[in-house]
């Protein structure tokens, strides 16, 4: 009798284990963006989108080489520069102060890998990969604390995002010696618990670093993309996991594992060659989001298109880049977004070449600009 009971219990347990609940994603939970239902427009921003140009103050204390990241809170702009600097400007472009600094002291950084704004606690967190340390600053640039973290967890990432429930999401390098995953989620209560998320469809022998925006925040919602994928993921704070949210159904079907099996790649993005050869999608890139719109880029018939998807109405349009000298062309310098505008950083030397006669507002900003000045920040407001 005992043996029978054990057999029954074992059978039920095995049956239960055989069902992986995590694999069950209902199709109706996903939003599908069908390219056939999108409105095609000829010129990007042809619908007379409002825009505002802003000149960042240029002094010896705030010379910007290349903006790596821009974020906004409390009427301030937080900008990280390729030269390992984090600057704070007010929303008129006036330089306020910098945050952190490179040096060998205990409160200084060896490198600034990235920064995030913890908007709930009004903190700037600076990540120094070389010192395996996270520095917490106030918005005024005063150091609050620093946290030593595990070098094996906080390595080989190019950028960091923070979720609505304060989890960190690291965008990982693509390399067989780094990780095989697009993202790593780290629990900020312990900083030792982590979970690798979304495996790379192709992994390169040489390391690849992504400076193309793979993640975007729409209010509190963090959206994420993946290499050569047409799916946009979302961080779910109830499941504490990254789940598929939006699927782009373009002209081409996405790559499958079978398309890339037994193939080696120098870098992960070389998978795009396979995709083009097999008439598959190379995936969506350049995620940016306002509260209302999600922006991404896709390729079709050897041309590049931008899609603006209205998250509220679930409608959208797409635009082909047109070689005309218009204000709209400067959208190619998009680097971020506020709640209601996409933000571009136009290099000063590009801005001064353009003829602004037809736009007096922009002209008044750019007329006082020199070639070597800090970038012009352009806000493109939709609706």
């Amino acid at each position: 009798m005992k043996v029978q009971k054990i057999i029954i219990i074992l059978g039920i347990m095995l049956l239960w284990l055989g069902c992986d609940k995590k694999q069950q994603i209902k199709d109706e939970e996903l939003i599908y963006i069908d390219i056939r239902l999108l409105q095609k427009k000829n010129l990007i921003l042809e619908d007379s989108v409002k825009y505002r140009f802003l000149k960042l103050e240029t002094t010896n204390k705030c010379l910007i080489r290349q903006i790596m990241k821009i974020d906004f809170d409390e009427n301030k702009m937080f900008i990280s520069d390729r030269n390992n600097k984090v600057f704070v400007f007010d929303n008129n472009g006036t330089f306020l102060h910098d945050v952190g600094g490179i040096g060998s002291g205990p409160d200084e950084q060896l490198s600034i890998t990235d920064f995030v704004l913890d908007k709930k606690n009004k903190q700037i967190q600076i990540f120094d990969m070389l010192k395996s340390t996270i520095y917490m600053y106030t918005y005024l640039g005063e150091l609050i604390s620093r946290k030593k973290v595990d070098v094996n967890i906080f390595r080989d990432f190019s950028s960091v995002d923070i979720t609505s429930d304060n989890q960190l999401v690291l965008t990982m390098y693509n390399n067989i010696f780094a990780t095989e995953y697009n993202y790593r989620m780290v629990n900020t209560e312990k900083y030792t618990n982590y979970r690798n998320c979304i495996p790379y469809i192709a992994i390169g022998e040489v390391c690849e670093v992504y400076r193309i925006a793979k993640t975007a925040k729409s209010g509190e919602i963090l959206y994420l993309s993946a290499l050569a994928s047409d799916t946009i993921y979302k961080y779910d704070d109830r499941e504490k996991s990254i789940l598929p949210a939006i699927v782009f159904n373009g002209k081409y079907k996405p790559l499958t594992k079978e398309d890339v099996v037994d193939k080696t790649f120098e870098i992960g993005s070389d998978v795009e060659f396979i995709a083009r050869m097999k008439k598959r999608s190379i995936g969506i890139r350049e995620l940016y989001a306002t509260k209302k719109y999600l922006h991404f880029v896709f390729e079709m018939d050897a041309e590049i298109y931008r899609c603006f998807w209205n998250l509220e109405r679930q409608t959208g349009s797409y635009y082909r880049y047109v070689c005309e000298s218009t204000i709209a062309n400067f959208f190619s310098y998009v680097i971020g977004a506020t709640d209601d505008a996409f933000v571009c950083a136009i290099p000063a030397y590009e801005a001064i070449r353009h003829n602004w006669d037809e736009n007096q507002d922009a002209k008044s900003v750019i007329d006082n600009t020199l070639e070597d000045d800090n970038p012009i920040i352009a806000f493109y407001y939709f609706d």
């Binding site: 029978q4 979970r195 998320c197 390391c207 070449r353």
Partner: protein, 157 residues
Amino acid sequence: MKNIKLLIIQKLSQMKNIKLTLLGTAALLIAVGLNIRHALNDYGVRDNKLHVEVLAQSNGSGGGGSNSGGSGSSSDGVNSCPLATYIRNAKPAWETVRVQDGAHCNLGLFVVTLGKRTVANVTLNVNVGGTIRVPECPDSPGNCCEKSHINKSPRYL
């Protein structure tokens, strides 16, 4: 009469045992069969759509990547990498960037600029825009990146 009753009860009990045994064995066989089928099917990798498949997330508590992979890397320390030829605590990598086309549309030849950094002149094989890869030596503790790596030509993807 009493004996017959006892016999029937005994028989019924035996039948019940047989039924339970059969039920348990069947459940076990089904479970094992389904698990083997799932395993032979690469745990659903071939059947599931990509966006479902990628949910195969791994829970980790172990270490991250190894220290190897850098040209001239050394897990013992980066001090063995001569500063004349190597950047310490960095690894050779390629940075994927979007071509910032801006005002160079009509040239056919795109000057790729990243903010104030001019990266390269690249001839694009698509009409407009594109993605290129440029050599970089990003931070990576314990690795060394050969300086000559940065001089490699950018490539259009």
